[in-house]
């Protein structure tokens, strides 16, 4: 039993060491040359534009459902008109960043792990190195930049669409006047909340992409290994999103409020 635990601990320590090494190398590569501009633009398109549909749909239905549920609760206090305040605060501070990040984990985290994993098992990564290309610069940096910079953009879109979804429910189901809803939405928005909603996705985007790249590049064992890496990437990415969100929230509350 003891050797088993020892092996597991060693394995975990190795994974953490390799992850830290990848993150350090990526950060160094972001600020130094050479840069592969075409790959960076391509990843912005794949990760940013490609994720729009899923993020819009998630944001819309989350905002709408949130408004319905909040309406029921607020009715108990006769406070239905302030439903917009609840929707905007929840979407902007918590649900927008977390749900967008979870959607990105499912969509791009799995894609990155599968793509890089396939490249590893078919020797394409070794071929890249043999041809004088650093895989970190060519493959990881474009994905990290796209993940870090597109996650906040997608989150803002998700927040907005969610609030619109809430408005539709508020107007047509809860019978709250549009003017009341929108003034309630803006009334509840403080600069601290906006900062909270904007800073979180940078960190979450970074975590999702670096975990996916790390898992993908550590793939072994042929096509079965690619499948395993994809699963690990989604599971580890999702758990990381929830955990990182909690810690970032604590830090931001301490700093901003």
């Amino acid at each position: 039993m003891l050797p088993f635990i020892e092996n597991r601990l060693k394995q975990a320590a190795l994974e953490v060491q390799e992850y830290v090494r990848l993150v350090t190398a990526s950060i160094h590569a972001i600020f130094t040359r050479p840069r592969y501009t075409y790959d960076i633009v391509q990843q912005f398109d794949t990760i940013g534009v490609g994720s729009l549909t899923v993020v819009i749909l998630t944001g819309f239905f989350t905002g709408a459902a949130l408004c319905s549920q909040s309406g029921l609760t607020l009715d108990q206090f006769g406070a239905r008109p302030i439903v917009g305040r609840l929707v905007s605060a929840s979407m902007i501070k918590e649900l927008g960043p977390v749900l967008t990040a979870l959607m990105l984990t499912g969509r791009i985290g799995s894609g990155i792990a599968a793509e890089l994993g396939s490249m590893v098992v078919t020797d394409q990564i070794n071929a890249l190195r043999a041809l004088g290309t650093d895989p970190i610069r060519k493959l990881v940096v474009p994905r990290v930049l796209a993940g870090v910079l597109m996650a906040p953009v997608l989150t803002v879109i998700s927040d907005f669409v969610g609030i619109v979804g809430g408005w539709i429910v508020a107007r047509f189901q809860l019978q709250v006047a549009s003017g009341v809803y929108w003034s309630s939405v803006t009334y509840a928005l403080y600069p601290e909340d906006l900062w909270m909603g904007l800073i979180k996705p940078f960190v979450l985007g970074f975590a999702i992409v670096t975990i996916a790249c790390h898992v993908g590049l550590r793939t072994s064992g042929g096509t079965q290994g690619v499948g395993t890496s994809t699963t690990i990437s989604v599971v580890a990415g999702s758990v990381a999103v929830i955990a990182v969100d909690f810690f970032v929230t604590q830090v931001l509350i301490a700093l901003l409020y």
């Binding site: 396939s118 078919t122 394409q124 071929a127 190195r129 043999a130 041809l131 004088g132 290309t133 060519k138």
Partner: protein, 283 residues
């Protein structure tokens, strides 16, 4: 700085001479955890010559090539490639050594999201300052050389196994390296297609004067490469003909067994060997 430049100049002068040692392995050892892959490997590849590394699967043949290209690092021993001690170089410093090294991987390892043109010209497009028109010309020239011009805009998935290997050879030779490493370049191919790949290896060695290391367990291909040579016919066409004994001696065989070299010599010496393992391998 001046001393370093002088050293580099001396190294280049030595490497320019015929028969200069371009790859040297001196008592190289490598293990992955408990599993020892290479126990004690020493050999020298001379300029313009061919080393054919034979051995059963898992004997450590491909590992030798990965150490030469710096994809793996030896635990012990010294490895020289083109005058640089690659066992001591960082990944960044290895990039300069790799500029003169081409490697053909098992199954080709072509980039499946790029066309044949982009694969072949990859290093020139991405890692050089060569004008784009010049890169296009070089890619077409190389593909013409291996007879694959009509496939230039195809994706690797639309090619057969043999075509993929030939494109991989074209990719490795496009930037004119002086050393080419072939990792099981003919494994899994039918004999006719394998012969076309063998002929590319021979042409590169004899017409482009590339030093090569061929890792294989296909004896037929190994002997074909060792005992044939490429010459230009009267009309300038390339012909593959049996090599005279002095030329055939430039191709040396190495037999690796459990991470140790059990034989080193030319094709005739290999055929004459009475070592039970080698005779079993050759049967």
């Amino acid at each position: 700085m001046a001393v370093e430049a002088t050293d580099k100049q001396v190294v280049n002068e030595i490497l320019d001479e015929a028969g200069a040692p371009v790859v040297v392995f001196d008592r190289v050892k490598l293990a992955f955890d408990e599993k020892v892959v290479l126990r004690d490997i020493s050999f020298t590849l001379l300029k313009g010559h061919t080393k054919i590394i034979l051995g059963a699967s898992g004997s450590g043949k491909s590992t030798i090539l990965k150490i030469i290209t710096g994809l793996l690092r030896a635990d012990e021993g010294v490895v020289w490639v083109n005058g640089s001690r690659v066992d001591q170089l960082s990944e960044l410093e290895m990039m300069a050594v790799r500029a003169d090294l081409g490697m053909i991987f098992q199954e080709g390892a072509l980039f499946d999201s790029l066309t044949v043109r982009e694969n072949v010209g990859y290093k020139l497009y991405e890692e050089s300052d060569m004008p784009i028109e010049q890169v296009h010309r070089r890619v077409e020239e190389v593909l013409g050389w291996i007879g694959m011009t009509e496939y230039i805009d195809r994706m690797p998935s639309a090619l057969s196994g043999g075509q993929r290997r030939r494109v991989a050879i074209a990719r490795a030779m496009a930037f004119k390296p002086r050393i080419l490493l072939y990792d099981e370049a003919t494994t899994g191919l039918d004999p006719i297609t394998a012969t076309t790949v063998d002929e590319e290896i021979i042409k590169l060695r004899d017409l482009e004067h590339v030093s090569s290391i061929v890792v294989t367990h296909q004896l037929r291909d190994a002997f074909y490469v060792a005992t044939h040579m490429a010459v230009r016919g009267p009309a300038g066409q390339v012909e593959i003909v049996p090599a005279p004994p002095e030329k055939a001696r430039e191709a040396e065989f190495i037999m690796v067994r459990d991470g140790v070299i059990v034989f080193e010599g030319d094709a005739n010496a290999l055929r004459r060997s009475t070592d039970p393992y080698i005779t079993t391998f050759l049967e």
